[in-house]
């Protein structure tokens, strides 16, 4: 998957709610705070066009018609793992609140009527996280499969020798891969590689 990092500059946010007025109001609110925000009535419609225009953050209602917010979150993550998701609901329950963060990787779980400062903070945090994810992905996108494997082991703290053992390569080959990784990502040493992987 190779998503255009350039889109992140627009700080795109999608809002999904089956209440047209609320979706539009939230979009305008976010627009006033510097986000490019677009409301959607139907999550299925957004899924069908998402690949062409991914966003940094999606604010989605949970209780919707055919596809609920959690189902939508699963589907959209398969298309784009680097998108931040914020849930909102008029039927808050403790179980859903825990699930939304633990199982569906939501950044926050907002209760309607919305607490405005909290919504703005969650969206800002989501956009920042997504941009950082995209940056890392962009910098490691040029790695070959073998280089990717070496990179993953290195950032876990394994030495060249250990990596060689794991992948059944010679330490010399690992050193070559490592040099290639540093060259392709522009990282300056192991510490920066680890920072990239986070």
């Amino acid at each position: 998957m190779n998503l255009p990092a350039s889109h992140a500059d627009g700080a795109g946010v999608y809002i999904i709610d089956d209440d047209r007025d609320l979706g539009a109001a939230v979009a305008r609110l976010l627009g006033r705070h510097g986000h490019v925000a677009e409301p959607f009535l139907d999550p299925a419609l957004l899924l069908s066009v998402y690949a062409e225009a991914p966003a940094n953050c999606i604010v989605t209602d949970i209780m919707m018609g055919d596809l609920d917010g959690f189902g939508f979150a699963d589907r959209v993550r398969m298309i784009d793992p680097a998108v931040a998701i914020v849930f909102m609901t008029a039927w808050p329950t403790t179980a859903n609140a825990v699930d939304s963060v633990r199982r569906y990787g939501g950044l926050d779980y907002l209760e309607k009527p919305l607490d405005e400062p909290r919504l703005l903070a969650a969206v800002a945090e989501g956009v920042a996280w997504s941009q950082q994810q995209r940056a890392v992905r962009a910098r490691t996108a040029g790695l070959s499969t073998r280089e990717r494997q070496v990179f993953d082991l290195l950032v876990q703290g394994h030495s060249n020798k250990a990596v060689a053992g794991h992948l059944a390569l010679s330490p010399k080959t690992v050193e070559d891969h490592r040099a290639a990784i540093v060259a392709k990502t522009g990282a300056n040493g192991l510490a920066q590689l680890i920072a990239l992987a986070r």
Binding site: D21, L22, R32, A90, P92, T93, T94, K112, L114
Partner: protein, 534 residues
């Protein structure tokens, strides 16, 4: 049932519990007089080896034990000993007086134990045997039989005491004893207990409607036919059959309950007893009294059973009504959750747009700016209210957290003000020191205080105060209301106060209710303060 080995402290407690209270003394004095009288009335049915075949004093004893509780057993024993000593039955110092005293004390002790045991068993019983008046019926039958059975070894071991020799005489003596007590208890205790209850609760409402008259007619017919049949059988020389009366009394008991069956029993007894007071041969007297006893026992138990059934049915109907009520509340809760949801959706939009409108009109025409600010404020207040209501109605359990008391009081105010207004009650809430904080679950504590405020609103004169004070390391929330007219009857089932107490105690606090001389009723909820709020 386990009976723990008594420690000396437990014995002390038991003795304290068994000693009569001040208000028992007049009862015991009355008992002494009634016992003396009844004991001597019984002498008319006396005989060789037993005191009497009809012993109403046992009925007086059972009535007192049942109405004042088995805790009076020892006091009753003491009273009977005193009466019999005064009457010369026990003559201290003379030979055999200790045995005589034991003979007097034993039945009362056994009656007390049986009454206690029957109540214990009935309290845990699930069948209709545990439903009043069935336990009284069982105790009334079991106590005389137990007293006679326990007297058996004494009679065998020390025959010189009763002057009874040989197994035949012992059996006759004890049968007479049991019969006398049974008849005495079942004939005397029920009307005494009704009289005590009538004095305590006022006379029972008994309008003699058409149904009562029909019942009376039916009972008279049945009993009259039975007595007539017996009289006919006696006239033509076929012995003294008890079966017709037995069937009639059982019928009346099952159909019309305990009161009716007691009257039927009393009529039968009034016919039989004068005949046995004379000098009939012992065997005939015993046979007659045994027949009478079986009629009395069957009739009284049948009546008690019918009453217990009625009461169980009434209980069931009441439980059904409560169930319906609970079901309605459940529906109401679901509806209010749905309403909150429906409101929260448009309110979200409204709040966002109102805030925006407020922000962009700050420097506009002052009139527009003011209006926009007002709309924004109201929308925000409404949003807070909806969130609060939802948390209150939801099942979510939050972790205990440091909670400003002022916030708690605000929540309570928001939840109770509408109801206070509807009930025309002034709810006066004193300002709260914003630094006071406690550790607890907001929703539960709010529920506890709301319950207290609602109770206060329902109880009294249209003025309820809620104040918060600090006492050292505790905070006291006081809900006060003034009662001019002492009406103790409150709507509701008192569940609110129970719930409040449970919640407060779970938070390490206490809940006290006190009526003061100035007519104020104060519910004081005391909770430990949390450390200073960060």
């Amino acid at each position: 049932m386990t009976l723990p080995f008594p420690t000396s402290a437990a014995i002390g407690d038991a003795l304290r519990a068994a000693s009569p209270r001040r208000d028992d003394l007049s009862w015991l004095a009355g008992y002494a007089a009634a016992f003396f009288l009844a004991h001597h009335v019984a002498a008319g049915w006396g005989g060789q080896g037993f005191y009497s075949l009809l012993y109403p004093a046992a009925g007086v004893r059972m009535a007192l034990l049942w109405s004042r509780g088995p805790r009076l057993t020892l006091a009753i024993v003491a009273t009977e000993l005193a009466v019999q000593t005064a009457a010369g039955v026990i003559a201290p110092g003379q030979s055999g007086w200790v045995s005589a005293a034991i003979g007097v004390a034993r039945p009362a002790l056994i009656y007390g134990s049986v009454a206690w045991l029957v109540r214990r068993i009935a309290a845990g019983a699930r069948s209709s045997l545990g439903v009043a008046p069935m336990p009284l019926g069982l105790a009334a039958v079991a106590a005389p039989i137990a007293a006679a059975l326990i007297a058996l070894p004494w009679s065998l071991l020390s025959p010189e005491l009763t002057g009874v020799v040989g197994l035949r005489q012992v059996c006759a003596s004890l049968t007479g004893f049991a019969l006398g007590d049974l008849l005495g208890v079942l004939l005397v205790a029920p009307p005494l207990l009704w009289a005590i209850q009538a004095v305590r609760d006022g006379p029972p409402p008994a309008p003699p409607g058409r149904r009562q008259l029909a019942a009376l007619g039916e009972a008279t017919l049945v009993l009259g036919a039975a007595i007539g049949a017996s009289a006919l059988l006696i006239r033509i020389g076929l012995g003294l059959p008890a079966t017709p009366a037995l069937l009639a009394v059982a019928w009346i008991g099952l159909r019309f309950g305990r009161t009716a069956s007691w009257w039927a029993i009393a009529i039968v007894a009034a016919i039989v007893l004068p005949q046995t007071a004379g000098d009939l041969p012992l065997a005939d007297r015993l046979a007659l009294h045994m027949s009478l006893a079986s009629i009395v026992v069957v009739g009284y138990l049948a009546g008690s059973f019918a009453d217990a059934q009625l009461r169980a049915q009434a209980d069931l109907a009441r439980r059904d009504r409560m169930l319906f009520q609970a079901e309605r509340l459940k529906t109401l809760r679901a509806m209010s959750v749905a309403v909150i949801h429906e409101i929260s959706q448009p309110l979200s939009t409204l709040a966002i747009e109102a805030k925006h409108l407020h922000e962009i009109t700050v420097s506009a025409d002052p009139e527009i700016a003011q209006t926009a600010a007002l709309i924004d404020r109201k929308a925000a207040a409404l949003s807070t209210l909806v969130r609060r209501l939802r948390r209150f109605g939801g099942r979510a359990v939050d972790e205990p957290s440091a909670l400003p008391v002022s916030l708690l009081v605000d929540t309570v105010a928001a939840l109770t003000r509408p109801e206070a207004k509807a009930a025309r009650v002034t709810l006066e809430i004193a300002p709260v020191d914003p630094d006071l904080a406690i550790l607890g679950q907001e929703i539960e504590l709010a529920q506890a205080i709301v319950n207290l405020v609602r109770n206060a609103m329902q109880a009294c004169d249209g003025h309820v105060q809620l104040t918060v004070d600090r006492h050292n390391d505790r905070v006291a929330l006081v809900v006060a209301n003034q009662c001019h007219n002492r009406k103790s009857a409150q709507p509701g089932m008192g569940v609110g106060a129970l719930v409040a107490r449970a919640i407060v105690e779970a938070h390490g606090g206490t809940l006290e209710r006190a009526t003061h001389d100035d007519g104020f009723v104060r519910a004081t909820l005391s909770l430990p303060l949390a450390g200073a709020l960060a």
